[in-house]
């Protein structure tokens, strides 16, 4: 029941904030957003690993399941619950939203109440995405996320915000439609073996090999088609190269807090869905096309990293590096080993925190310099030492510095994928992907050297001084979280492995 309470509360909070006066809305939104934070942490403290929500649907934590609608012969239920895969993302969402709201206090000065209301609305939808266990319940939230995001980019964004917003809007919507049709065909091909659109039932049926033929398409064909449709559908969200071009535009135009949410949580929707749908429901297809998927992953990693290397806009750099980092997730998933998939899940959280931290810090700098162009500034370390210090720490975290979350995640993924039985030439793919850690160091170090160090210089005529406390606080908190997760991955690692293990029971190695 607690999940519904949290989601409902967030929705109400969103509404309340929406109509609150602009002056107080920021503080109000933050105060309200603390409730889900506390709630999710409370759930985290209660959580005792209960296997995988899809594959052991019996005892899912915090589960509620009540009938809702029926579509054709299929029952649609309001079915939510959490397991070791979704709970970390659930927590990530609440925490990141609160911090993003604080980070918005400085940059957001117009129509503030609407802004914070939409932020909370988005949080509610995201919580729904990560907790829903019924396809349509999940799909409602999945699509609902688009709406606030469209406004957040479109209204408060940069000069090309309208283009970016509509591009994000339509591109991801097309993806959802493709995914929807593919999934529906798969469900229908399951025939009488499923009577509801509950993800657990469907997952168990598909894994039990219940997929039949569909109007002339054989079982194998329909599975492949469905897999492809869903892979593309979710791949756009992730984003996997070459479906990534909406991301840099969206990131560059979006205001800082929105970039934080976009990189921190929204991208994870894609990988989360890939894990829940493609790799949980159709592991055999995933294994069959492992090489192709791995190529996608490696290309995302390397290509994204090199793209980041070519950028001048700090936000664009981080945006492309997100493409690169999410490539690791795909690699971990396709490896289909305990450490691969577990590491992928861990990377979702780790990258959520780190990329959020990066965007926030860049935002703090932008608040004072009003430029993000690498060439426009240098020697900022002299003027805003603490912020720069955190940015440096964040950058090294992004490079996978040990004892920070990123290293743990990437190491798990690499160990997992290197020894994969599912993926042919696994060591080769792993080694190729790992070259990303060199390139990432390259572009981040170059950018830092040119902007933060050397003699102070700034093209825009703004007086640069230390950032206000409420700008520094969220990034400091995030940094601490990143370090904490890097020093003690066990905070999530245990429950993740527990939830991932059942996924691997068919096919795949340890």
């Amino acid at each position: 029941m607690i999940i519904e309470i949290l989601i409902a509360f967030t929705l109400v909070a969103a509404l309340a904030t929406f109509f609150a006066p602009d002056r107080v809305s920021g503080k109000l939104a933050f105060a309200l957003s603390l409730v889900p934070v506390v709630g999710s942490l409370y759930m985290w403290s209660l959580f005792d690993a209960s296997g995988n929500a899809l594959l052991q649907g019996s005892q899912v934590a915090f589960e509620t399941n009540m009938p809702w609608i029926s579509l054709g012969g299929y029952e649609i239920a309001w079915h939510v619950g959490l397991d070791g895969i979704s709970l970390p993302l659930f927590v990530l969402t609440t925490v990141l939203t609160s911090l993003a709201i604080v980070s918005a206090w400085t940059p957001i000065d117009t129509r503030a109440s609407q802004f914070y209301g939409l932020m909370l609305f988005m949080e509610a939808s995201l919580l729904g995405v990560f907790s829903a266990l019924d396809f349509f319940a999940w799909f409602v939230f999945w699509e609902a996320v688009l709406v606030p995001m469209y406004f957040l980019i479109g209204v408060w964004g940069g000069p090309r915000r309208k283009y970016a917003a509509i591009k994000f809007f339509v591109y991801t919507n097309v993806a959802s439609l493709a995914m929807f049709i593919g999934f529906m065909a798969l469900v229908f091909a399951l025939g009488d073996s499923v009577t509801s659109l509950g993800l657990p039932e469907i997952a168990q049926a598909t894994r039990a090999g219940e997929v039949g033929s569909y109007f002339g398409l054989g079982a194998g064909a329909i599975k492949t088609v469905a897999f492809a449709a869903m892979f593309v559908g979710f791949g756009v969200k992730v984003p996997i190269a070459p479906f990534h071009t909406w991301l840099p535009d969206a990131h560059v135009e979006a205001p800082t807090p929105v970039s934080v949410m976009l990189a921190g949580v929204l991208l994870k929707m894609g990988t989360y869905a890939l894990l829940r749908f493609n790799f949980t429901m159709l592991p055999d297809v995933a294994a069959q096309y492992a090489i192709i998927i791995a190529v996608f992953a490696v290309v995302s990693v390397i290509y994204g990293a090199f793209l980041a290397l070519a950028q001048q806009d700090l936000k664009r750099i981080v945006a492309y590096s997100s493409v690169s980092s999410m490539g690791y997730v795909i690699l971990g998933l396709v490896a289909y080993t305990l450490y691969g998939v577990g590491g992928a899940t861990f990377q979702m959280v780790a990258h959520g925190l780190i990329s959020g931290l990066m965007f926030m810090t860049v935002g703090v700098i932008y608040n004072t310099t009003h430029t993000r162009m690498v060439g426009d500034m240098s020697g900022l370390a002299d003027r805003m030492p603490v912020t720069v210090g955190i940015l440096v720490a964040a950058a090294f975290g992004y490079m996978g510095l040990p004892l920070m979350a990123g290293f743990a995640a990437e190491f798990f993924i690499f160990v997992g994928s290197f020894g994969s039985q599912t993926l042919p030439f696994a060591p080769l793919f792993t080694a190729l992907a790992m070259f990303g850690i060199v390139v990432v160091a390259g572009y981040l170090l170059f950018a830092m050297q040119r902007t933060l160090f050397g003699p102070f210089r700034l093209e825009t005529d703004y007086t640069v001084g230390p950032a206000p406390l409420h700008d520094k606080l969220p990034i400091a908190v995030l940094l601490l979280l990143v370090i904490a997760l890097g020093v003690a991955p066990e905070l999530f690692w245990g429950m993740i492995l527990d939830a991932v293990e059942p996924v691997l029971e068919t096919g795949g190695g340890a």
């Binding site: 809702w68 609608i69 029926s70 579509l71 054709g72 012969g73 349509f136 799909f139 409602v140 939230f141 699509e143 609902a144 688009l146 709406v147 469209y150 406004f151 479109g154 209204v155 915000r161 309208k162 917003a165 509509i166 809007f169 339509v170 919507n173 097309v174 439609l177 493709a178 929807f180 049709i181 529906m184 065909a185 229908f188 569909y214 109007f215």
Partner: protein, 513 residues
């Protein structure tokens, strides 16, 4: 959904009420129309807008109440002895009739309430409401027609007032031109329609759906019958504004008074589908009709062409109203899937997909009418017609603009309103019926539609005001109408279950399943 049988036995089937009361939804509308005519004839010059609009609204609500009550009580549904046939089988009352009556009544109510402001100070208000009610009556009859004769009469009863209503603004060139085009195309279409009927009669010797189906079974004159079926389909295509009978629609919707545009594009379209569903399922049922007459293919072609043309044309419009007009053509294309995704034999998918189409029409009734009522509001304020004219409107009229955003996103199939479920259920059922390619084409169009629907939202909420609006008043009626539509649209998101179940039960009953 169905309430305890206690209520069911109270009604017609149980003999508690005489059978003719089953038509109460239609009768309510008809009586309202007569009452209005009476008022009008007593005081032709009356400007008592409140009285007229009020009467119309009340009549519509009464009709709506009857429909709801009967639906709940199970009148004419399998639960209580199946459909009720009246007047020598000319009319039939069943779940489908009640379902569509509900659509017409609710749309009529919203239009009436909104017209309270829209018509303020205009001539001939009495006629306006009377014609609206008559048209609504015709539509309900279309939904209940059980013979080609009653179908034709009902169709004309719905059409003729519409022509007049579109041309209602006599001094407005646009309105008149719209009326003319609507009328001419309508006349042509109905001629084709009638000729089709005559051919079918020639082949079957009867106009009752059941007999027609029977007779078509053993006819040799496949060619003649085929041409007849095609022409009848044409008649419905005109009502539903489907290609190639859609040409009137953009102009009619753009030129007509905005409430009427909403009325036509929602209710009238739904009526066309109602009668089309019944005729093609019962009279030309796939199980009975000769192989040669494959009207499923016909509707597949129509669906694809209609949705594509509608959406692509809508994507590049400059005026919001005309964009809505084209988009409603595109929406008709989606609904046509309900006929295009049918398969021979009594497969349960048939009922489901048609039911999904009906449910979409229901939701569409709210969101589309609401959208046109918003246009009516802007016309009332004298704001321009193009997208640019809407720039920054949200800062002036946030509530109305929020409602409009809700309509737009719901039309585009985002989960802020019932449009999400209705559209995706339609696609899903198409996939289940094996027509994944129809769903795929629908998806492509839907994505494109998201683009042009969001243009309106962008103009209102994202763009900065280019011109200064002088918004004199917040008209109560228009606001009320828009808000009813908005609330309805939104509530249909969580409460979509009853709708789709009713619709699919009704549709399945049609298939005798």
């Amino acid at each position: 959904m169905s309430l305890p049988s206690v209520t069911a036995t109270l009604l017609q089937s149980g003999g508690a009420l005489p059978e003719w009361t089953a038509l109460a939804p239609t009768l309510a509308l008809a009586l309202t129309a007569l009452a209005l005519l009476l008022v009008d004839s007593i005081s032709p010059e009356t400007k008592n807008n409140a009285l007229l609009a009020g009467t119309t609204a009340v009549g519509s609500f009464v009709s709506l109440a009857f429909s709801g009550w009967y639906l709940a009580a199970g009148t004419g549904q399998s639960g209580t002895g199946g459909e009720i046939v009246l007047y020598g089988e000319a009319l039939v009352v069943d779940g489908m009739y009640l379902f569509f009556s509900a659509i017409f009544a609710s749309v009529a109510a919203m239009v009436a309430i909104a017209s309270y402001d829209y018509l303020a100070g205009k001539e001939y208000q009495g006629e306006f409401y009377a014609l609206t009610m008559l048209a609504a009556t015709g539509m309900t009859l279309m939904a209940s027609a059980n013979s080609l004769a009653s179908a034709f009469v009902a169709l004309e009863l719905a059409s003729l007032p519409s022509y007049a209503l579109v041309a209602f603004l006599k001094k407005n060139k646009g309105s008149v031109e719209a009326g003319l085009k609507y009328f001419l195309i309508g006349a042509l279409s109905s001629a084709i329609f009638v000729f089709g009927i005559s051919l079918v009669y020639a082949v079957t010797g009867s106009l009752l759906f059941s007999d027609v189906a029977e007779a078509l079974g053993e006819t040799e004159l496949v060619g003649v019958a085929g041409v007849g079926v095609l022409m009848i389909a044409g008649g419905f295509a005109f009502k539903t504004a489907s290609v190639p009978f859609h040409f009137w629609a953009p102009e009619a919707y753009e030129g007509a008074p905005a409430p009427i545009s909403g009325f036509l594009s929602s209710a009238s379209k739904a009526a066309g589908f109602a009668v089309a569903f019944r005729v093609f399922v019962e009279a030309f049922s796939l199980s009975a009709i000769p192989e040669g007459i494959n009207w499923v293919i016909l509707f597949q072609i129509l669906a694809v062409v209609t949705m594509t043309l509608g959406n692509f044309a809508a994507a590049t419009q400059d005026t919001v109203k005309r964009m809505l007009a084209y988009s409603s053509i595109g929406q008709a294309g989606y609904v046509l899937i309900g006929l295009a995704a049918l398969a021979g034999g009594a497969s349960s998918q048939n009922g489901d997909v048609m039911g999904a189409a009906m449910a979409h029409l229901f939701v569409y009734g709210f969101m589309n009418t609401g959208a046109f009522l918003f246009i009516a509001l802007t016309e009332h304020w004298g704001i321009g017609r193009t997208f640019e004219d809407f720039n920054g409107l949200a800062s002036k009229a946030p509530m109305a603009c929020a409602a409009m955003a809700l309509f737009m996103f719901s039309l585009a199939g985002l989960p802020v309103g019932g449009g999400f479920f209705s559209k995706y259920f339609l696609f899903a059922n198409a996939v289940f019926a094996g027509f994944w390619w129809l769903a795929a084409l629908g998806a492509i169009n839907s994505a494109l539609s998201l683009f042009y629907y969001s243009r309106v939202v962008k103009a209102m909420w994202i763009e900065d005001a280019t011109s200064e609006f002088e918004i004199r008043s917040k008209p109560v009626g228009l606001y009320a109408g828009i808000m009813i539509a908005a609330v309805g649209t939104f509530l249909l998101l969580p409460a979509f279950g009853p709708i789709i179940e009713t619709a699919q039960t009704a549709a399945s009953a049609l298939f005798g399943a």
